[in-house]
Symmetry: C2
Subunit: 424 residues, 2 copies
Amino acid sequence: MIVEILNTGSELLLGEVINTHAAWLGGELFPLGLRITRQVTVPDGPLIRRALIETFDRADIVIVTGGLGPTTDDITREATAELLGLKLLPDEAIRAAIVARLSARGYAFRERMARQVMVPEGAVVLPNEHGTAPGLYIEAISRPSSKSPHFFLLPGPPRELRPMFTRYALPILRGLCGDLPARECRTYRVVGLGESEIEERVGLILTRGGDVEVGYCARPNEVDLRLIAARDVLDRVEPIVLAAVGDSLVSRSGEALEEWVVAHLAAAGLSLTTAESCSGGFLAHRITNVPGSSGVFRMGFVTYANEAKGEFLHIASDLLARFGAVSEPVACAMAEGALHRAQADYALALTGVAGPGGGTEAKPVGTVFVALASRGHATICRECHFPSDRATFKQLATQAALDLLRRALLARERSLTAGVAVGH
Amino acid sequence: MIVEILNTGSELLLGEVINTHAAWLGGELFPLGLRITRQVTVPDGPLIRRALIETFDRADIVIVTGGLGPTTDDITREATAELLGLKLLPDEAIRAAIVARLSARGYAFRERMARQVMVPEGAVVLPNEHGTAPGLYIEAISRPSSKSPHFFLLPGPPRELRPMFTRYALPILRGLCGDLPARECRTYRVVGLGESEIEERVGLILTRGGDVEVGYCARPNEVDLRLIAARDVLDRVEPIVLAAVGDSLVSRSGEALEEWVVAHLAAAGLSLTTAESCSGGFLAHRITNVPGSSGVFRMGFVTYANEAKGEFLHIASDLLARFGAVSEPVACAMAEGALHRAQADYALALTGVAGPGGGTEAKPVGTVFVALASRGHATICRECHFPSDRATFKQLATQAALDLLRRALLARERSLTAGVAVGH
């Protein structure tokens, strides 16, 4: 089964609107045994038609996103119906659903929305529970002269597309696929090793047999090693991977560093607090993105200004004056102050120069001190240099902080297993 | 000039790795008068070759991303050279740059990296200042039998691609384009109106003449109205847009809500603090993403637990007991407590139920109270309902908070202009 994705929308090609559909749909299709072999984005307008025509020759299943809305630049529904020679007919159930949705929010139905009520003859309506435009499924049509793929037309906004896909499109796709031979995808998330080093340690051994598909994806301070194979093959090679990457392995499921940390803190009944300067709340944000994090994270401090560091984290002003806010002693004092103020078991602190301004010769843009304080153990601190844009800097700095805590928790778990008494 | 983007990388089609290249490159190309007419993603492997071949017929300029790294799944360089019939030759300057980069970080050159040193005959090397793999520019080749497009091969990681593109590819592209007729793109960011309503108020008037290209892009609690036309046409229609969207207009340049808020606070010499429960630091993160935010944002509180709200924001425990943490009185008390503790001019507070757990019948998942406290004015509070996933909830809730402050700042600026004395 050849699956292609066609994303429509000029905004995806003009500026900072990022197309998240391919990645998300790819992840959803994989467990069905389906792989996306091509993803195409075209602007709104006549190129949509051309891109639709091209899929006829190549694909069995085409998922089209966008262009179902009420405005005049939305032409996906009309273009697909025309290409397939299907009439568009009004659907009263869709009209009623839109009217009900709008009136619950205090809005009136506008004539402009009437296009969203039209359905190509014979198409299955995929209800939209998070917006007005419904999705459509049009079965493959075999004619003597041609054969069309199965078309799924889905709305552009991810918050509308995702629940609609999961609830209404996936069951249809499952029916289309039958039982394809299951290959499993395992993603080993690694922090602290580069991709060349990972390939050298493990990739070559794995590809030798030819029955494992190996891929790498490098992100700021993180590499995903991706293996695709039958489950028994993956089970057989897994010990090789684990031995090769050691403590740099964060997870075997693509689990993020913050998910690992929250899960392990929760399992041990331990709590965490944060004291952030240069990362400006991003560390707390990453932690609180994890459902259930309220069990381990009760509060965090964003102390951008020096007075805030002094007042809320009890940092002596002579320490700030002597070493400067971006320094190892201040990072350690921030972590210890937060630990004490929040009565937590662990405290992570970050202080650095995110840029673009604020750098000096001694402490250039990108410098960051990451400290971890914990009850009954000496505070530890790492100096790192991440000269980059502001967003990447925040990502790298918080990654370093979470990894410092992860390694401490690993060490703690090992000493507990070894029966050694520890401070908790 | 027809420009196409070809992104390579199985990870872009398999899971949660999001392709940011099309959006970013689109924004960079537009000022040169270039529009991307198609963006294609294919997995690593033989489909790259097929997708490269297809561009020969259609495109004048092809920008390829990814597949230049050291691992065996990286084949872009080799496939392009082979298709164009160009020999690959080692480049000693590249080798020296990689060795220097690695040794500064304490790593050795690995034989595996030698492929990155190879350059197709006649290609221009685009240095990589943020990674090892250099980019390549291969000029269009005219042969009696065929004509190839101009190829730009760029590395996959955005933090390597972006500076390389800006510094080394853009000047070449500028030379290729000459002086194309300049059309300008203006993006009006609107908060508080839906896209149908915007089209009704303004879109139809604008498209009537046919010389303005109008597009819409809806995001959580935000719509971008995009107009493309010659500058004098845009200047002529701008008053129509401004009159139609009124105070719901955030910016005329795609400026984000948080950028607007930081700029206006800074210009007025005012400071802001935050007290976050359900948004868990995301509001502070959005604010501190803006360069220069340290001038207006000195600190923020992430008070997830009730005790933290009590201790750090001085919220009476009977208030929490009587109304519950997710309530208007507690949101107001959080904002007022933060205002007082941080000695700021404005304080935004959020308390709500992000989900997936924690909802009740009276306060279901998605309920959030957003409060704004300021010196000399009564605290205001909005109750909102954003039932959605955790990430969208945080986006919507912080969007509502920033818009509350934006409208207060607008009102303040108007009363100052009108000569009315205000509390600041």
